[in-house]
Symmetry: C2
Subunit: 263 residues, 2 copies
């Protein structure tokens, strides 16, 4: 017997027919952002696929009404890290996704969507941990200053929860890739890029963010020896367009071309 | 300047006025369960407040159409643990919640909802880790056999994600209570309860579940010496009503009274 249709009064899931589930349990519900994340990442290309890879990348979480009140985050400063439950809002709409091709597997192998952290997933909800550097009270409400953010600027956040080591840190957990599996390119700033950097007050942070992002080599599936693999790449970051290329295994930062300000 | 009204075309969040956020980013979206969790917990009372406290409690996750396909979980067996993003479906509807009184703080102190894992929260989405004991393929689709489940039977699950130690296990995280902070009562099975147990094929598992739940002393805010604190308590579990009391610091399991089967 398959699951009965959802329109029936009771949905019997074979593993427990004695305690049937009412179909209303499967009804859709509406969720609404409680906060918006600001980050240096202005486009999806180049965003590291996991937050642990970019511990320096800053993010700022600002709450929206009615949650922009100091009492909503009272006590959060006792925690070193937070979970963000967020919407993968930049995904084009699509039908139900059962399998995905994770970039970590070269983009060719398919795995189940529930065996991956892919953004292309039912309900489009992501889960990411960030370090809580500071909790600020501003006239516009509380703001969380975060580090280790792997999310697009403007990401709508559905919930913020403290990372509770007692339950969230699972010492014997295994699976997925390990720290040693992540290849890193050496990064060299070329003179034009160095000059741009020196004109910025936030140069130290921007340098670290560029280094950590480019070192992870976000080029999509290039093969070594492919002449295409050395072409100049671009990525929008902060208020500039980052230009770089990879030559003989070294990432060369060519320039930080300022954004044309929006009219 | 406060946040502009959400109905405006652009929402400017003070921390980055140069990159305004379009108000559509704050629009509600619909989410829909992908699976239903079955657990021994038939009511909220008595459910341990964190999954790490009850490593033996079993749970079974069954997917609903269109996600009840083997390919949707292909590769998940490589992971030891999974995240469940679920709906706190048993909560009565209420207005926006800014603060909660966590039971861990005695139920008197208020903290911000975003500084807690309380079920009473904006969007009502919970996050819980479980050990993936086995991935089974059944004629009705894949079923995850889980351990360490702290969720009500019939909980609608919005997403399943692998626990990736590289990013989810944060070795230097701090905050919240620690393992040593959790008091445990000794548990003694009285003769009537022993006899009920021996009539069950699943007695070993049921015994462990009862022990781990009762040892955590789910009595709401009793004080030692209060005569009320020794009265008999009841909790629906599996297909019985568990009866126990706490006497001189020992939890005495009195009986496992069978459910009257539903007509």
């Amino acid at each position: 017997m398959r699951h009965q249709a959802v329109s029936n009064a009771l949905v019997t899931i074979r593993i427990d027919q004695h305690h049937p589930i009412h179909a209303s349990r499967l009804a859709p519900v509406e969720v609404r952002p409680v906060a918006i994340l600001r980050s240096p990442f202005r486009e999806r290309f180049g965003i590291p696929r996991q937050p642990g890879l970019v511990p320096d990348v800053p993010g700022t979480l600002a709450f929206v009404p009615p949650y922009d009140r100091p009492e909503a985050v009272a006590g959060l400063e006792a925690f070193s890290h937070v979970w963000l439950l967020f919407r993968f809002h930049a995904n084009p709409p699509s039908g139900p996704t059962l399998t995905v091709r994770p970039p970590r597997l070269g983009g060719n192998e398919r795995v189940g969507v529930f065996a991956s952290r892919s953004p292309f997933r039912p309900n489009g909800i992501g889960l990411s941990v960030a370090r809580l550097e500071r909790l600020e009270q501003t006239p516009d409400g509380p703001v969380l200053r975060l580090r280790g953010v792997d999310l697009l600027d403007g990401t709508p956040v559905l919930d913020v929860k403290p990372y509770v080591p007692y339950t969230d840190l699972v010492p014997d957990a295994s699976g997925g890739f390990a720290a040693g599996d992540v290849a890193c390119l050496p990064v060299r700033f070329m003179p034009a890029a160095e000059e741009r950097l020196w004109q910025r007050a936030d140069r130290d942070e921007v340098r670290r963010v560029i280094e950590s992002v480019v070192a992870l080599d976000p080029r999509p599936g290039y093969r070594q020896g492919d002449p295409e693999s050395e072409r100049t790449l671009g990525m929008r970051l902060y208020d500039f367009d980052l230009r770089w290329r990879v030559r003989q295994g070294v990432a060369e930062i060519l320039d930080l071309v300022p954004d044309v300000p929006a009219a």
